[in-house]
């Protein structure tokens, strides 16, 4: 019994991390059609900022998470102003936004990644934080993984709450359904657009900060997360935050059980297997309306 509990829990923990990364990307792509392929690079920046703060300034990484979120949010506003504002304004349709932003963010990916190589070199970096063992029932985990899971779940739920139950959330959803209609009813899209983009990057930063507590970091760490996040948001349904959360958790659990019953080498096969199965059954994703 304890064994199965542990297996399910490890899956949920991995899934929780997938979910935070995916929700950030979903804000940009699912809601705004900005195909930000450099999402993972900002995750990497968040991880490096946290590592620096912890190793140089001796700041507790958990305390630093809100700081990373704020810094990345501001950075998001700047990036939006420099790279995506023009695209969002001049593109005749959302499909064009998608194609153009894909190209721009592809360049951004190389820029950010290579800036990190210049600044910090290619070495693996890491620190130990909360690595003592915690026993829950008969299952054992490192404390940092549980903390990461709690933060990931918390951040996702708060965001879902904001989008569902507040006026701002309503405005964001309205803007996504019809940008022109939203403007007509008095929603300031010129403010809201960059804010949502910034929130997406802030989430990437939070995910990076959390990951740095568990894994070693390097400038190349971001790309695989971008790919996983793309799978998760397609799985959950574009634009559905609940879908991204549940999709992330599902993928994590399937991987954990799959690794137990088959071999970890088949992990990719399992992820894509789930992905294809869901798309066959529900082509628009699990939670698309």
């Amino acid at each position: 019994m304890g064994f199965w509990l542990e297996l399910a829990a490890t899956g949920l923990i991995t899934g929780g991390i997938y979910a935070v990364v995916a929700i950030g990307l979903n804000l940009q792509y699912g809601l705004m059609r900005i195909m930000n392929i450099s999402h993972g690079e900002f995750l990497m920046l968040g991880a490096y900022f946290t590592w620096l703060a912890h190793t140089v300034l001796k700041v507790n990484p958990l305390v630093f998470v809100p700081v990373v979120a704020f810094v990345l949010f501001v950075l998001g506003l700047v990036v939006y102003r420099l790279c995506f504002r023009r695209i969002a304004r001049t593109s005749p349709s959302v499909d064009v936004i998608e194609a153009r932003s894909l190209l721009v963010s592809f360049g951004l990916m190389f820029l950010v990644q290579n800036a990190a190589y210049l600044a910090w070199g290619a070495d693996l970096r890491g620190y130990s934080f909360l690595d003592q063992t915690v026993e829950v029932g008969s299952a054992r985990f490192t404390a940092n993984r549980l903390v990461v899971f709690a933060f990931a779940l918390g951040a996702s739920l708060v965001l879902i709450g904001i989008l569902r139950y507040t006026l701002i959330g309503k405005a964001v959803r309205a803007m996504m359904q019809s940008p022109t209609g939203a403007q007509l009813v008095g929603i300031d899209t010129a403010v809201l657009h960059p804010t949502v983009f910034g929130a997406g990057l802030a989430l990437a930063g939070v995910a990076g900060a959390l990951l740095s507590m568990v894994y070693e970091i390097s400038p190349a760490m971001g790309e695989p997360y971008t790919v996983t996040a793309l799978i998760v948001i397609t799985l959950g349904g574009l634009g559905s935050t609940v879908g991204a959360l549940l999709g992330g958790l599902l993928l994590g659990v399937v991987e954990a059980f799959g690794m137990h019953f088959t071999s970890p080498s088949l992990k990719m096969l399992l992820s894509y297997g789930v992905f294809i199965a869901v798309l066959l059954a529900r082509p628009k994703g699990l939670f698309a309306r």
Binding site: F3, E6, L7, T10, I13, T14, I17, Q113, N114, Y117, G121, A122, D123, L124, R125, G126, Y127, S128, D131, T133, R140, F141, T142, R145, V214, Y215, E216, S218, P219, A220, P224, E255, A256, F257, M259, H260, S263, P264, S265, K267, M268
Partner: protein, 393 residues
């Protein structure tokens, strides 16, 4: 003086200058290589390999240049980023040897990358002394220009098996990374353990970049093997250590492969690293020359070299330097000189037989009080082994 005579003299002087100039200002020796500065291989390549290339060129130039059969010529390094991409490795070397026509090459990082570009080195006739390529499959290609500096997997795994027998271990569990490196090591390990009568109770592979191995480690913990051997690459080495500690999996012998010898392993885990074993060859106490290399590396890069292949990389450069002094830059002669000579290096004398370093024995190393001590075989050891491993701290 007549104008024509003056012109003739000037022309003669110019010709003489053009002919004699190289004797005074030697053209530099161009040495090319491609290595990972970005992408997933960079973490290993930038610890073990490229810092050594650059430091070597700097040191040689500070001494007045590379001794080419008695003539000192400056080294000009031409380093390219292979972006951790095998195709880019091959294309870069094709360019360096085929169109740039560099004088010498240095090898890329990793077993896979070396395997991919070896045939090109043979085609263009460039000897390569590889510090991070290991596998019988590579030597099996019988490439006369390829020289492997690292101990082959069977040597390393034989040493490990001998050590296990000496401690009367009976069972072992293995995980290995799904790359040429992991497969080659596994092959060596399975043979070695079989020969020594040690039973493998569990064997699982995983992909590079895996993020969670706790389910696998739990399965293995339930089987309670005497020894746990992970034929792993750097990021997974860290993951496996952290998760084994988390679930309280503490076998008598805990062994992880590449990355264990990296200083960052000790820096990250602190006392947790105590007693962990892995692939290594040396440490600063191995010899005065090794200590001098270690100190120079720390002074130049503000970081320590790793305790396995870094020293092999340096040894390779020492061999190249000695061979060039003897044979010059005729690469055919240079190859024969390397193949038939014996060379002094920081890891002892090295001689090659069919491209294999037959002088450096397989060893087992272990973290003890912040140093990666060599603990097996007895005649190479710098410290006595801790066995069984103490509980995780």
């Amino acid at each position: 003086m007549k104008l024509t005579a003056l012109l003739t003299r000037i022309a003669a002087a110019a010709v003489a200058a053009a002919v004699l100039a190289p004797a005074f200002a030697q053209a530099p020796v161009k040495i090319g290589y491609a290595i990972a500065r970005t992408g997933p291989w960079a973490a290993g390549a930038q610890v073990t390999q490229e810092p050594n290339y650059i430091m070597w060129a700097e040191q040689v130039n500070a001494r007045g240049g590379l001794n080419v059969k008695g003539v000192k010529r400056k080294i000009e390094l031409i380093g390219l980023d292979d972006r951790s991409d095998t195709e880019t490795v091959v294309r870069s070397y094709e360019k360096l040897m085929g169109s740039d026509k560099v004088d010498l090459i240095l090898p890329p990082w990793s077993t896979g990358a070396n395997f991919a570009m070896m045939p090109l080195a043979q085609k263009y006739g460039y000897p390569m002394l590889s510090p991070t390529a290991t596998g019988r499959k590579l030597l099996g290609m019988k490439n006369p220009y390829f020289f492997a500096l690292l101990q082959q997997p069977d040597l390393m795994m034989d040493a490990l098996a001998e050590y296990l027998v000496a401690r009367s271990a009976k069972t072992a569990a293995v995980v290995y990374v799904d790359e040429l490196f992991g497969l080659e090591q596994l092959d060596g390990l399975e043979r070695a353990l079989k020969a020594k009568g040690i039973q493998i109770v569990e064997k699982k592979s995983y992909p590079l970049g895996v993020k969670d191995l706790q389910p696998v480690l739990n399965d293995i913990k339930a089987k309670n093997p005497d020894a746990f051997i992970a034929l792993s690459y750097p990021p997974d080495t860290f993951l496996i250590t952290a998760q084994s500690k988390a679930i309280g999996f503490n076998p008598k012998l805990f062994y992880t492969a590449v990355g264990t010898a990296f200083p960052v392993y000790r820096d990250k885990f602190g006392p947790t690293a105590e007693g962990v074993m892995g692939l290594g060859t040396w440490n600063p106490r191995t010899s005065p020359a090794a200590k001098a290399y270690f100190d120079a590396h720390v002074a130049r890069w503000k970081k320590e070299p790793d305790r396995w292949a870094s020293a092999h990389a340096w040894a390779g450069l020492q061999i190249l330097e000695q061979a060039v002094a003897k044979a010059g830059l005729d690469r055919k002669v240079l190859r024969d000189t390397i193949a038939n000579g014996e060379f002094d290096t920081i890891i002892g004398k090295i001689r090659f037989k069919n491209g294999e370093n037959v002088s450096t024995p397989g060893v087992v190393s272990q973290w003890q009080g912040g140093e990666f001590e060599v603990v097996w075989p007895p005649d190479r050891s710098t410290s006595a082994a801790l066995y069984p491993k103490q509980p995780w701290k």
